[in-house]
């Protein structure tokens, strides 16, 4: 299977979502907040900042290396045309609908289940939801590039 430059760049995005989930989601699950008390906890707050900086550094390094390699391997210039716009609008439409739907489901679960409300995992669930939607959107975009 030969992938075009655009398809490879979408694969890079998919790779980022997966790596982000593997490296950073466990931290957010382990340190899920039971309330907003953390604002007063300076040590926890500094720990969160360290994690955020780690995430930013990780993103910069990942994208710099990936896109440098991409430019070295694919010398051709990337032309953005109407087909790209059509594919990205379809993919973003799906992503938005999924996000909307899953947010409604999450709100419904939270309203009906008080144990989840107090578990403090809301932030974690929203993060998982965002990452999941991003992953589905990218996979769908790749599928459209391969088939349309």
């Amino acid at each position: 299977m030969i992938l075009s430059k655009k398809e490879v760049s979408i694969t890079i995005e998919i790779g980022f979502s997966i790596l982000f989930a593997v490296f950073f989601l466990p931290y957010f699950f382990e340190n899920r907040l039971s309330s907003f008390e953390f604002v007063q906890d300076i040590s926890f707050l500094s720990e969160v900042w360290v994690k955020i900086i780690q995430m930013i550094v990780f993103s910069i390094i990942y994208y710099s290396i990936s896109y440098t390699l991409l430019e070295i391997i694919f010398k051709e210039k990337n032309i953005k045309d109407e087909r790209d716009d059509m594919i990205s609008s379809k993919a973003y439409k799906l992503g938005f609908r999924l996000y909307e739907l899953s947010l409604f489901v999450l709100i419904g679960i939270l309203l009906s289940n008080s144990s989840i409300q107090n578990s403090g995992a809301i932030m974690f669930f929203i993060l998982v939801l965002l990452l999941g939607v991003l992953l589905i959107k990218s996979v769908y975009q790749l599928y459209l590039y391969r088939t349309s």
């Binding site: 075009s4 032309i79 045309d81 109407e82 087909r83 790209d84 088939t147 349309s148």
Partner: protein
Amino acid sequence: MNLKNILREVRLKKKLTQEELGFSVGVSRQTIISIENYKYKPSLELAMKLSMALNCKVDKLFYFEKDN
């Protein structure tokens, strides 16, 4: 009715590669491949550009084929 085209035939007659044709109308090679394989229906603007680049009338380049 399905929208079909004779883009590949006309392009080959003009001895143009998909990349060259794409470059002349400002789209990628993949877009030309998709149009030739009837997977992507171009906008009116792109259809007109293709017709001008290939010096072929747009209604000859693109046509409707009735369903069986």
